[in-house]
Point group: C2
Chain length 198, copies 2
């Protein structure tokens, strides 16, 4: 057996990054272990020296990413900021996550729903609920304290923000025309003030 949970050789990390790029570009199911091996310059069987299965690769990619994200979210939610500032910080953290973990975010967006049907990926459902609770807490607080308008449905507002932010992974490219911070600025401007003239 190759992967023991604490193993983290540089080659292993390299292979995982290659797999993540391919999963993100073509989808988990459509990416074969031979695709990954080809991109890495080895034979498909050699991947199994580093990983138990193709599933364990995507598992590690997604769970590592989510653990990091929740750590950052937690830091915001336990802070003394008001709802408006928390919301802004959550949005900025999210765009930064897209910048730093683009493949992982893309895989989550495209394949998580199907993967979550498997018991192995139970944590995807759990984390989804936790994620939702975090955002809804800030939104509800914002409405209660008057930081956000109170004539909209909170659930639809949550979905609007969530989708708007994370779907940007479909076109955002590090080193592209706009930095993650610039995108976050403009998106927050539209989100909070709207597109109409002031």
């Amino acid at each position: 057996m190759a992967s023991n949970g604490t193993n983290a050789s540089s080659r292993r990390a390299e292979l995982l990054a290659i797999a993540a790029e391919l999963f993100a570009a073509r989808g988990f199911r459509a990416t074969t272990v031979r695709d990954i091996a080809d991109a890495a310059g080895i034979l498909s069987g050699s991947l199994y020296h580093h990983f138990d299965s193709k599933e364990s690769m995507v598992d590690e990619i997604l769970s590592t990413f989510q653990a990091g994200l929740f750590e950052e979210y937690d830091a915001v939610l336990t802070s003394a900021d008001d709802a408006r500032n928390k919301l802004e910080r959550l949005v900025r953290i999210s765009f930064d996550a897209i910048h730093r973990n683009r493949p992982a975010v893309a895989i989550f967006q495209n394949d998580a729903a199907v993967l979550a049907e498997d018991d192995r990926f139970d944590y995807l459902r759990t984390n989804n609920e936790r994620f939702r609770t975090m955002w809804m807490g800030v939104i509800d607080e914002g409405i209660r304290t008057g930081a956000l308008r109170d004539d909209l449905d909170p659930v639809l507002t949550y979905r609007f923000i969530r989708d708007t932010v994370w779907v940007a992974v479909a076109w955002y490219r590090p080193g592209g025309q706009f930095s993650a911070a610039e995108v976050a600025d403009q998106y927050l401007a539209i989100l909070l003030e709207g597109l109409g003239p002031r």
Copy 2:
């Protein structure tokens, strides 16, 4: 040969609808012809009496949907409305399209990028450019005429609107808590006036 381009038996349409639901739920690549046949209560080989290939199924689903959508968009753009009204109508048409063609929209969102690499799906790239031109025309006109604020990047604004609207297919369900019109109302409210208190 089975499909002659004008063939449109009810059984054929039925099979196409079944395929569309499966493609939307699991992805084009991950859906097998046996999955489709099982769902239809026939054997996989029998599908080839109605369709040339699995690809021709998704081709017909996507091209039919896009043709209908462009027809509706055209009606708006050639009208005498001002930019603000055109924008509202485009958004409402789009949500209605999600309502009426949910599987097709989902397939487009999830699989179009990969399919477009194939020459057969050249029209996906062409239509994408046409789509972009249509929306950008309205956005630019809105900024020029003062209907939209002028301190934002038009390209990012376009992406914001586009993504915000179409990604709703991931969670919208006909007959669910909110109708397509209700979602459109709330999304337009956020889009145009923002989440902040007035």
